[in-house]
């Protein structure tokens, strides 16, 4: 039997007698595991932090903003401002393959005066299609969001961000109330919220058709945004290229003119971070494995010394009838018990620090919720114990096979 009471008592006797040796072995194991846990935890902390940055918009989205031409084209001078219209939106929507959700944007920047009774504030206004919610990952806090019928019927409705609601309505319910945007009354149909960023909380969303009509936009739009579904990076690039080609043909600019359109491809950016994560992960594992190896070397070293120190004792045991296997078994069981116990201590300490540290730390944007991959930690302990076993086996077997007379001569 691997763990009988008798053997445990034999081991307890040896451990109690050799406190320092036991402590050193234990410490090197605990430290190795502790450091590994901290590393893994910080790694996930950074990853979570960066991922949170992506929460406020769809990562598979492509945003197209107007630019200014920088190359002459078909007799046209450079420096021309590109304009989009509703037709561009319709054209892209109907002809570009792979589009999942699409919205145009019509901006009313620069702090529009919004009033409710005697409360007022200056806010930014974004007019859009219903699909906008998927691109901005808008969360509904109350009521409803802008829908197709609002756009079709050119309704004077709006949703307001939670901060807008707080400022204008305080504790009062905003639903169904009328606010005035630059003097024009709009009915509030919903309150929206956003997880990733605070900015949309200070925005008002209007149906794009209403804003164009009421605020003199005609058929102009300022931006096109769409999601690419489950498109790969390659497919996303292809769609980006196609959008550029289509708009170049419609707006008469050189396809190669990078400045005519400002295109932001979320997939590409996301991919960059994904790559960053994998480099960080590789980095952490390299250091982690290094730490573990240092622990293993420590354990092996101490096992060697321990067995050497005990040669005489093991010789006495042999003279009294210990079989080689019982000697190996005794030495290895001791090492397994010490390594797994101290590994556990290191694990608990590491997890403790990871759990407690965030509440005592200043908030860092790119470092959130450090967590430990428990499986990896347990794996590391098993690895350490196994390494201790292998490391202890060679000297243990040597001690077990030495002639008792030689072992007894050892002082």
């Amino acid at each position: 039997m691997l763990f009988d009471i008798d053997k445990l008592q034999e081991i307890y006797g040896a451990v109690r007698k050799n406190k320092l040796r036991t402590l050193l072995t234990g410490f090197s194991v605990s430290w190795g595991i502790f450091m590994l846990i901290l590393l893994l935890g910080s790694g996930t902390g950074i990853e979570n932090g960066v991922k949170a940055e992506f929460k406020n918009f769809a990562t598979n989205s492509i945003w197209v903003h107007r630019g200014q031409t920088s190359k002459p084209y078909k007799g046209l001078q450079p420096g021309r401002r590109i304009q989009f219209t509703n037709d561009d939106y319709e054209e892209i929507k109907s002809s570009l393959e792979g589009i999942e959700r699409i919205t145009a944007r019509f901006y009313l920047w620069d702090n529009n005066l919004v009033t409710y009774k005697n409360q007022y504030g200056a806010f930014n206004i974004i007019a859009c299609h219903p699909d906008h919610r998927y691109l901005e990952k808008t969360i509904l806090a109350d009521g409803r969001l802008i829908n197709e019928i609002d756009v079709e019927q050119v309704r004077k409705v709006a949703t307001i961000g939670t901060l807008v609601k707080e400022q204008l309505f305080k504790d009062e319910s905003a639903l169904g109330k009328y606010i005035k945007v630059n003097g024009v009354p709009f009915k509030i149909v919903g309150v929206h919220f956003d997880e990733g960023s605070e900015r949309p909380l200070r925005w008002l969303y209007l149906p794009i058709s209403t804003a164009q009509k009421v605020f003199g936009g005609g058929n102009r739009i300022h931006a096109l945004m769409f999601t690419t579904g489950k498109a790969t990076i390659e497919e996303g690039r292809k769609m980006e290229r196609q959008v550029r080609e289509k708009l170049a043909a419609r707006q008469n600019f050189d396809v190669a003119d990078e400045k005519a359109l400002r295109i932001w491809n979320g997939l590409k950016r996301y991919q960059k971070f994904i790559n960053l994560f994998s480099s960080i992960r590789i980095f952490i594992w390299v250091i982690g494995v290094g730490t573990i190896i240092a622990g293993i070397v420590g354990v092996s070293n101490i096992m060697l010394i321990s067995v050497k120190e005990r040669t005489r004792e093991l010789g006495i045991r042999k003279a009294l009838g210990a079989t080689p296997w019982s000697i190996i078994n005794l030495v290895l069981t001791e090492s397994v018990l010490i390594t797994s116990f101290s590994g556990y201590i290191g694990l608990v300490a590491g997890v403790g620090v990871i759990e407690l540290a965030p509440s005592h730390m200043p908030v860092i944007e790119l470092f959130q919720n450090p967590q430990v991959d428990f499986k990896a930690a347990i794996g590391a302990i098993i690895l350490l114990v196994a390494a201790g076993l292998i490391a202890g086996f060679v000297p243990a077997r040597k001690a077990a096979n030495i002639m008792p007379v030689d072992a007894l001569r050892n002082e």
């Binding site: 009294l320 079989t323 080689p324 007379v405």
Partner: protein, 224 residues
């Protein structure tokens, strides 16, 4: 019980070979009380260790209880050391971090006897050696004579057929040495074969038969 024929043993020390035993012929029957005498370096301890299976030999024949001992497996050797022999050493060889009773009980641990039972038996043997009151003391807290009594109790606990004592009185004063010899004689009278290695004449004089060893050979073939 123990038959040696033309036994040779050589130690390799660096490039030199040290021939320790140069053809030992020896018969020891059951129930004998034998001493092996000789100056230091004569090979007497080596001979005892080979008899007790603590060491190997190069050539010759060793019959133990009519079994041929030649390159015996370690497992089997362990069994013999545990059941057949009891060892008493000059340096006592008690395990320093174990109490007297735990030291005495250790051979029974290797017979898979339960802890409580083997400690009870160990206490009996300590009692026989007059050491019961020191049962919970560590070896370091005992005098040389007391330690050797504990060692004898340990050698006796597995009820061996042969007691092998290597200079058992070497670290003890004269009075204590004679007490030890009386103990060993008592053990012998109960039918246990006792073989004592010593270089002291007064010790060997207390045994029934003395085998003299010089330079790895038995003088006058008196061993036969």
């Amino acid at each position: 019980m123990i038959k040696l024929k033309n036994l040779h043993k050589t130690y390799a020390t660096g490039s030199n070979e040290l021939r320790v035993l140069k053809g030992i012929d020896l018969n020891i029957s059951a129930g004998e009380l034998v001493s092996i005498m000789g100056p230091s370096g004569s090979g007497k301890s080596t001979l005892l260790n080979i008899i007790g299976l603590l060491d190997t030999f190069d050539s010759g024949e060793y019959l133990l209880d009519n079994q041929i001992i030649k390159r015996m497996g370690e497992r089997q050797a362990a069994y013999f050391r545990n059941k057949f022999f009891g060892f008493i050493f000059q340096a006592f060889n008690l395990i320093s971090f174990k109490s007297a009773v735990e030291n005495v009980a250790l051979p029974l641990y290797y017979q898979n006897i339960r802890r409580r039972k083997r400690n009870t038996i160990a206490l009996e043997y300590l009692d026989k050696m007059g050491m019961r009151d020191w049962a919970d003391h560590l070896p370091g807290e005992l005098s040389g004579g007391q330690q050797q009594r504990v060692a004898i109790a340990r050698a006796m606990i597995s009820e061996p057929k042969v007691i092998l004592a290597d200079e058992p009185t070497g670290a003890l004063d004269t009075d204590t040495s004679y007490e030890m010899m009386d103990l060993l004689k008592t053990i012998n009278q109960k039918g246990v074969t006792v073989i004592i290695v010593t270089h002291e004449h007064d010790i060997s004089a207390k045994t029934a038969r003395t085998i003299r060893l010089t330079d790895g050979i038995i003088d006058n073939h008196e061993g036969l």
